[in-house]
Symmetry: D2
């Protein structure tokens, strides 16, 4: 770079200064994108007769040949200068000196990041889809498998594993919605904004945008190089996703503890201790929990950096992009691993008999009193509450509830007896019964959950379709760019 | 509350315990919403014959009368219990005891928050619109007012104040896009999810959703009570908006310093010092900068709290909502104030003559060499760089550039003379000229900015239309609820 | 304020501008401190003959009378101006106009915050001490009460509740260390730094510092008004404390779930559900968890605001202090409530017999093989691991381990039999035995924990002593200030 | 690892599971520490006759030979298992199987991190010292170099560059205080805590602590393996330091803008633009600003992860340590680079004549009125305020102030004339005069700053002394460990 940019205004830069500020090693992520942008820009300059055809041909050929040869090292500023250096080496300074005409690193870098971001985002959507598929497959096996629904981490009401997994599906689905919306804001093209004020050459920003697969030009040129809100939005999406995923993983960790005993982790995805031979630890889930929470930290780290930066390009921006790629790598890696673990999770065979869970039928017992015996709900709530207390005090469970006990408790609490028959009590305290009676829209009854699963499969298909469509669009743009360049080069 | 919920299962709560956990004082924000939900739910129970018409009438009447009478104090749990207590007081325990049938505080509180959030969000959109309007009005006055475009906080290329303000408009516009998308995810109805598993009563969740103005039911019942991602998404929107606003404000602060001297703040929105009589401080802008950055802190505070919480309702949720309302109050307050300040900002009369700004024409001087003299851009860049250095070393500015000097520098740097005429240099170094020549799409030329302003006025109209449509929808739902209740009450 | 500061340089401020930026309502927290600073400063000016004795007397008298009369409202800038206004009203502009001589709001506000902070910090230390006392009292009751020591949330090795509570004590003790160190950095006096450059009057900064109870002058005057790192340090201390407290509370929540069943919360500090009569929810603990995590959010919110602010006073600072007071109020409130809950927690009577906990003796069983049978530890680890697996597969627990089974497993895994007698197995698998054998320094054996408790009582005494000493110092300074003022006023 | 830990309890782990959770690649940072811990532990076991001398000799020899041979790859769990595997390979399973006797990865990893942390912390202190030295050297050159003291980014009162740099020194000095205090809390030894409950073998934790250079044993064994507050404290120190450093850097960026024009960056540490030849951008400073702010983000990322984790070891901890090392690398790198830049910064030759800065004498002009003309300060403040306004309105500066103008303004504002002579005005408006008159403790007068510099040199010496003492202590411990091992091995 010193050679290319320095000779005029400034004395040579200190080597440690270049090394310190260089983004070259991080730029490997966007090198292909930078070369493509240079191609598209030069093609447009030639089409608009801003650079003459012959010079353009030479440069385009050099760009065509260049990809594999570029070496990024911290001795150069960044990938932008590396590409320019490579081209100048190939075609000489006279011709190559126009590579950067009517553009700047400021518009180029934001364009390159957006192009890479499109790919990462589509990859994340596919990984989320895969996880959703696993959730559905497990759910289909467990339409009638009772698990506790917890509130405040206390067993509250019985649901099924299928019902639980659909809830997780739906949280991921909202992340997919957000990601698709963000994609539209990412997919806008800053090229041609130059340093910040466009250029006095009569370039076509629309043409460059089209050749690079963007849906539109990011219009105002100061905004185009200055904004990083797309990056914050992207990280916010990942942060919200992270919050939902850590909640799911927290459940899995808790449910696979010896004390909760709801789930059994697969041996191959669990670890033991170097000292305690009985341990079966959920290391992977803990690692996922921690990594996803660190992704969330990246949002605030980047927001802090961007906050109150003056308009225009500031070098601080450069430090943000590595956080972005790391956040994607982590999220995609964790979600893929989570799919594998979830696919092999088993429900403990005898779990549904756990005594403390019997009390989850209490609400239904109260509902039954309302429905069959015309007792106001708040009164029924109190009677059943007192019954629960009586049973716990005697070390019993709700399975030990009898019509007689219910009547006694009612008399004591509310000064009135209660005539309930045995069958009523049995029906209301059978957990599977309870689940099956909850067939309201969105409820845990097997039929309703089966209906929901069908609907969600269609949502998954829609997501897949969306990804395909976007990928096709990008492929077509890439083909247009290559073929247009080939035309200029006379190669076809 | 002790009376309503305690008698059965638990001994009375300690008074300090109730006071400590009570959300009653914060609930004042959602009291109206809670009463409306109770109305809609009871109406549906009556329509579905789950509660008999007579009892429903009594309860609905009590709810109708209740609004003004409810007093929230930290001696009660929350607004939910306060409403129930009030109804029971009015109609007796026998009838009022069914108010909470087939619903729970868990679905009710999330529904109420979403209803309030719709209002806050619409109000924020209106405030943003107002600020955008101010930006456009100021821009129209300053299509030809030169201001420096900065990168790295160094004067880079000349733009106009109008061009700058359009960039700010566009950043806000993306926030509006995000807010409208978030609205759709907020506007989904959890009611009927109960504690987490719906209910065994055959309620209609769709009917309640319709009566409360929601666009759809939030289906899976565990998800419905458990998710708080809508809250995180909302705060993320505010946080991204905050980042953009603080950047705008930072520019205003810098540009109104004595040293930058671009803008003049209105006296009535500036402050002086208690000790230094010469000071004219941008206190308001600093306060906006700080408050908006604190809003961003609320995102991470809430994300930290939600991260890794188990599924189902957890009491931690209660602590999040006050942060949400505070964030809205702050954002709306700051944006409204910013509108007022921006409306009165003046450009310093003599600003464009500032010597250090003359160099902003350097790029255009290089472009001219490329265009008129067929010099490769990178070479032109070096020549002009050396020219700048020579001028600075002699304490001169780019206005002092002459054809002779340019030729000397060219000879020295590149060993070749350069024949440029006086008019070329004059044209290329006149800042207004430069701006007018940058007429590419999105560029700062007055004509292009005027075109952009026209387009943005239409975007503003679209936003306003969107708000109206949503408000109308909510009003209609409210009318439907009131009239349906009146029908049941025989009032009409 | 307009009257006091405006007439010269600026036109009147807009009313909404004053209201928007006013800190008056928040300043109620530091009003007394501001008055005291004014007293000390004026006293010093009189002692140094910078203001004549007569004028100083009038002003001091006015300050003496002023406290109760000052009304803070958002119509004035802040408490500094309110005090000045009040004094001017009492003694006239001629005399009162010197109240602000040789000082500024910039040094005054930071001094006042530091003075208030000293009080808050001492109050927090006392609250922490109270919680530590509760931990020790509970620990003394539970030297032999077995609870599971968890790693990865899986039962790992048996400890006692006393041992667990000492661990919590020690975490709090480190917070106390940090708080005491922070106190020393808070307790430095900025007064006399003026706006940022001291003054040309020959004031004595040492005298003012002494009268206000500071241990030293914060020397460099730019640093004195500019730094807010003391505020960040304070919030960091609270944030680290919050992390430790949330971990403690998380354990309590988990341990009091129906599934873990280790602890029983007191009825008066637990809540039930509005719909599920069986619930006994740890609402208070969840609220503490959430609030403490929000305190942690305040650190990052303030750090974000301070980050990259230019040197000197910036109005942004004003927005930080309310976060500081809120953080203290929340922390002190939560810790006080936690003390009450912890004091009443009970251990479930039958908990130690829980089958899944029996395996916690596995490490000791392996240790026994090493110690008595000269088997390498890694080999013993494998044998016991296989034993555990065999028992679990048969639905048994470690209590069902027999010498025969151990020998079988050993043969199968390592192809060698093992001669262990019944007593050895019984001793190694009795949890209380295991605990008693862990008598290494810091271990859970009752004797060792008793020793630790003794040591910690002394640490508590030292903390209390430290608080007393600091309080005495502050009281003495206050007395010196009052008596010196009285001398000047001729009152004594 | 599968071979070492798996055979008993669990089926083999999936390869991708091991790779996903492996910390081996990160562990390279603490490999030496882990080997040293194993040496110290085995030595103690031999000294206490828990392992027989012969076996201990073999193991110690293997550990002695092992360092260079250990290869860390993601196919193994972590460095702990890699060391054990290497030893077993060298001495066989019979003997090597006791390497892990009476210890665990849980105590070992926290011990290793603390040992590494000691080194990093000392290195950071040295880097801070170097920066302080640079500040002092620059300050000594600029005792009389006027720079503006800003508040609200408006020129407020004149100070000198030396005075400014001392303020920066003092902020760093407080970081040094914090770091030294944190060192004491880091330097406590968890070894012997085992998995969480110590061991039934009669080990000496004190001996291991001594051999590893710790100042004390971290007593309670659950606390010892469970706490990560030392890590949060460390990151909080770095975060507060980061805040102070970004504020310094922000000043440098602003002061070297063309508009402020206070400072000139050295060419070799500045960069130009790829398109705008006139640019001289402070890229390095911007990079430092961004990186330091990202360090601050690491605090909250880690705090979020730790918040509400249950007690005992959780795998989440593993994900935190890389953040810690990154934070140190970044901080040390940025501070070292900042030293280099600061050492070469120049003050712009003509800067002090900048017209807008003349007004910085306004406070002193008011003070003069108070001192020489017995005008109350608040009145003087108003007169000078009006004078400033009059001058600005006419496009003049404070240098244009005359006795006549002052009298006119006074008459107009306060209805009273004012007799000031020319010399008084000249003296009060000469910036160097003003600075020299501010000789109060901590003020900018050259004499006072020279005094402060002398004092700060002594503080620097004290810091250096502290580092030496700590380093000596660690070296001695290392020698004791090596020589004790050699004794057991009969090597000396």
């Amino acid at each position: 770079m010193p050679d290319l940019l320095r000779k005029g205004r400034l004395a040579p830069a200190a080597k440690d200064a270049v090394k310190f500020t260089s983004s070259a090693l991080d730029d490997v992520k966007i090198l292909k994108q930078i070369v493509d942008i240079n191609k598209a820009h030069m093609l447009m300059l030639a089409e608009k007769d801003i650079v003459n055809r012959e010079a353009a041909q030479k440069i385009l050929k050099a760009l065509f040949d260049t990809n594999s040869k570029i070496k990024l090292s911290p001795e150069i500023d960044d990938a932008h200068m590396a590409v320019e250096e490579q081209v100048v080496k190939a075609v000489g300074a006279e011709v190559g000196g126009n590579l950067n005409l009517a553009k700047s690193r400021n518009d180029q870098v934001s364009t390159a990041i957006r192009m890479k971001l499109r790919q990462e985002l589509l990859c994340l959507v596919e990984t989320l889809n895969e996880l959703q598929k696993t959730l559905i497959q497990q759910a289909e096996q467990h339409l009638k498998t009772i698990v506790p629904g917890y509130t405040h981490l206390q067993p509250a009401q019985p649901i099924t594993l299928a019902h639980y997994l659909v809830a997780q599906f739906d949280a991921l689905q909202r992340s997919l919605e957000r990601l698709e919306e963000t994609y539209e804001r990412v997919n806008r093209c800053p090229m041609g904004a130059g340093a910040l004020a466009t250029t006095s050459f009569t370039i076509s920003r629309e043409r460059v945008a089209e050749l690079l697969g963007f849906s539109m030009v990011l219009e105002n040129s100061l905004d185009a190089v200055s904004t990083r809100d797309y990056l914050l939005e992207m990280l916010a999406d990942l942060s919200i996703l992270a919050a939902d995923v850590t909640r799911f993983v927290e459940d899995l960790i808790l449910w696979s503890t010896a004390d909760f005993g709801v789930l059994e982790l697969p041996d191959e995805y669990a670890f033991t201790s170097s000292i305690m031979p009985q341990k079966k630890n959920p290391d992977m889930l803990e690692v996922i929990r921690a990594r996803m929470s660190l992704v969330s930290g990246n949002y605030i780290a980047c927001a802090t950096t961007i906050m109150a930066l003056p308009s225009g390009y500031n070098m601080d921006f450069q430090e943000l992009t590595p956080k972005l790629w790391t956040s994607f790598d982590t999220s995609i890696g964790c979600l893929a691993m989570l799919s594998k673990v979830v696919a092999k999770i088993k429900v403990k065979s005898n779990h549904a008999d756990k005594p403390v869970w019997s009390f989850m039928a209490a609400t239904e017992l109260a509902n039954m009193l309302v429905r069959n015996h015309n007792i106001p709900f708040r009164t029924a709530h109190k009677i059943v509450g007192a019954l629960v207390k009586a049973l716990i005090d005697e070390g019993k469970t709700l399975k030990d509830a009898t019509p007689a006990l219910l009547s006694d408790v009612s008399k004591e609490t509310l000064d009135q007896p209660l005539k309930v028959n045995k069958e009523e009590v049995a029906a209301a305290t059978n957990l599977l019964n309870v689940v099956e009676s909850h067939k309201v829209k969105g409820g845990p009854s097997p039929a309703e959950v089966a209906r929901m699963l069908g609907k969600r499969k269609k949502e998954m298909d829609a997501s897949k379709g969306w990804v395909s469509q976007k990928k096709n669009g990008l492929t077509k743009a890439e083909e247009m760019l290559e073929s247009s360049v080939r035309v200029v080069l006379g190669l076809k």
